[in-house]
Amino acid sequence: MSDDLERLQAALKMDASEIEETAKTRALLAGLESFDRVNQGIDQRSRPSAKASRFASPLQQGLKTMWTRITSRPFLLATTSLCTIALAVVITQQNRPLRLAPLGDVAPLASEGDIAAPKSVVVADERADGAALLKDKSVEESVVVQAPIAPAQDAAMASPDVAAVEGRLRSENAQTLAREAEKGLVTGRAVDSLAASGLAESMPSPSIVAQESDAELYRLQQDQPSGDVFDGAPVNPLKITAQEPVSTFAIDVDTASYSYVRSALLDGYRPQADAVRIEELVNYFDYTYPKPADTEVPFQPSVSVSATPWNPGTKLVHIAIQGFTADESERAPANLVFLIDTSGSMEDANKLPLLVQSFRLMLANLQPDDRIAIVTYAGSAGLVLEPTKVSDQRKILASLQNLSAGGSTAGAEGLQQAYGVAEDMAGDGSARVILATDGDFNVGIADPEELKNFIAAKRDTGVFLSVLGFGRGNYDDATMQVLAQNGNGQAAYIDTLAEAQKVLVEDVAATLVPIANDVKIQVEWNPATVAEYRLIGYETRALNREDFNNDRVDAGEIGSGHTVTALYEITLVGSSAVMTDDLRYESAAAAPETNFTSELGFLKLRYKLPGATTSQLIETPITPDRVDIAPQETAFAAAVAGFGELLRDNQAMGDWSHDDAQTLAQSARGEDTFGYRAEFIRLIGLAKAAQ
């Protein structure tokens, strides 16, 4: 190619005019609207995204084929230089999280001694082999050999990841790692823990020339949102039944974590482990569970005991709740106050414009007598739309047109006004404030505790709060969770129009028609049959044992038609998978005699009917042969939970891989009317590629 053409090409690239986000959103929405028009004739009854999406499986297949091809050695050797270039790109992507993710996770694992330590105390000789050994079962089995080591060193060695890191540091990759550390790619935590394990000294000096590929790597890293805040509760540890037989938690029907994870994976990187709340991943999906027989009891609890997909030595106990479906047209008119964050940061296409669009979708699905008001907050709070019946669509739509972002956030001011409006609307009934924000809570009530109390107090007067999260970058997940949990509401994270459809349209009935409040679950495990147990997820929902019977302790709500899923992984007495040794001095004391030698545990549920102040109790024994739930549903829930564990880098997963999760989910896809399960299966593929 001549110099002139090269110059022209370079100039064209230089002029690669940045995409204007608002124009892009406009165009995408125009496309989708047009799509709905064009496809109206196909299926009149189907709502825009309610049609099952079948694209996931062919896509998935493509990805899998590609991956198999590029990882097979003959293919690598036989390629032309063109293929090699393509491959180099892929491998960069592959390597990036491999280098980083394990490093970033060293600290929590190491500090979480009680899970990590019994699992995998890796001895020095094995460390040399590094990553290769990770998948080797022999690592786990060769464990309990070591004599006590000094605490700091012990913690560092507890995780095979550290071993892998160490192994890699010794290899030629050491320089790369060091460079990354220097540029701040490796989190402070990880560097600290490296330092703690004495590895930092062995790092090469800073004077290594950065190569172009590293510049690219750096840029990619920079693209990752860094301002998002998660509270990162430590993973539920393994419990020994003899020591702590009772497990208590509040149900959770939030879905924010799933959308966040999906959004990260679609952007090509793994979400930070803290962002993954497994119970929210699992509860994102609808399951077919046994329905309540009559409306006396608002929901039906079911229990299934099955094999654990990732560990042949343990059992999976699946606890499911199916709420009855209330007739939507019979519900009392809803009073909704939208409190919309119009601060400058909401300007992005995936925030306010998406919210307005979502709002339109929802409007079409409310009852004519429902009333809506809109309050904005941006520097000063304002009532943009006075309480208006949904039948007056024109007025509501007109006020939506006028929403625009700009100004600084003063959340609480708007919050107080919204609650004021909601209380007026509620009268004797109830109302719901729906807060839409990117989480930038620059609140007037500065003290989070005070804010929490404000919301909780209003909840008792019949005004509830739900939180819709938008955008990424300064998304404050922890605050949103706290607010929604205290407001008897849901926290959802909306990243696409399709997600808005799910949250605001499909789930609207459930949110607007609560059928049971303060639902708590307590399981008492039987030490005679169950040696150890672990609740999967629900870390932020843990309750004290005594809270179960205390009706003043707030817990989760179930809406019309909601399903709730919880999973325990249990290890039976005598199983080879038992992690802990018997105590030398305790075995002398005989196990307590019981008449329930066949039972694994006892499930108790407490709930309040809407408006009631005292709770009802449902009890049922968990026996080893119970299979109330269709095995397909258990398999899918297990696939989702297992995938979540993989994202959290839980070492207990052993050599169970993304492929296993995918196969399991695929086998349990079922009818999948809305295509959510298909989407999930595709996400596993993306996670694999982003590894």
Partner: protein, 180 residues
């Protein structure tokens, strides 16, 4: 990747909204980029890209999957770009801003500024056909054969067009040297 696009496109044509949403999000940048390079005006290119997005659902019904989706999409975009240029020709030529004039004024890097200015002069000089070819071959880094497929021309014609581009640039350089 093309394979995936093709499947998405076929599902979208059947009414799968998610497939369509994925497809649009994935390709918007490309649609806009090509439109911008052919038309030379940001606002107009945005409008054209939006038109393309809105027209795709109907057009997809005619997508048979016998060409790669991206090839097919480039054709759709180029056609929309031509329509726009025709409309514009009927009125009067709007000032182009390849190299983005507003950005140019703020540009502090003299070398960069000179290059973008040169780009603007070069593209203005090329005929619509040559500019389309440049957008595909240099902008989208397509082989001559592939660009030929998009434009419905032989590989040889594309190579000939590129040599015309080279000639035009040489001529421009010669002229500018004379005035300098």
């Amino acid at each position: 990747m093309d394979d995936n696009d093709t499947n998405l496109a076929i599902e979208a044509a059947k009414g799968d909204r998610r497939a369509f949403e994925r497809l649009l999000t994935r390709h918007y940048d490309r649609i806009y980029r090509v439109a911008y390079r052919v038309i030379g005006n940001r606002a107009e290119a945005q409008d054209v890209a939006q038109e393309v997005c809105a027209a795709l659902p109907a057009k997809l019904k005619g997508f048979r999957g016998d060409a790669a989706f991206s090839t097919w999409l480039y054709r759709v975009v180029l056609n929309a770009g031509r329509d726009q240029l025709r409309r514009k020709a009927a009125q009067q030529r709007i000032t182009s801003d390849w190299g983005n004039v507003q950005v140019l004024h703020r540009e502090t890097d003299v070398q960069r500024m000179a290059e973008l200015d040169w780009l603007n002069r070069a593209l203005t000089r090329l005929s619509d056909e040559l500019r389309e070819t440049v957008a595909l071959v240099l902008g989208e880094e397509m082989s001559h054969a592939l660009a030929g497929q998009v434009l419905g021309l032989s590989e040889g014609t594309i190579s000939w067009r590129m040599s015309e581009v080279r000639k035009a640039l040489k001529l421009m350089a010669a002229e500018e040297a004379r005035f300098a």
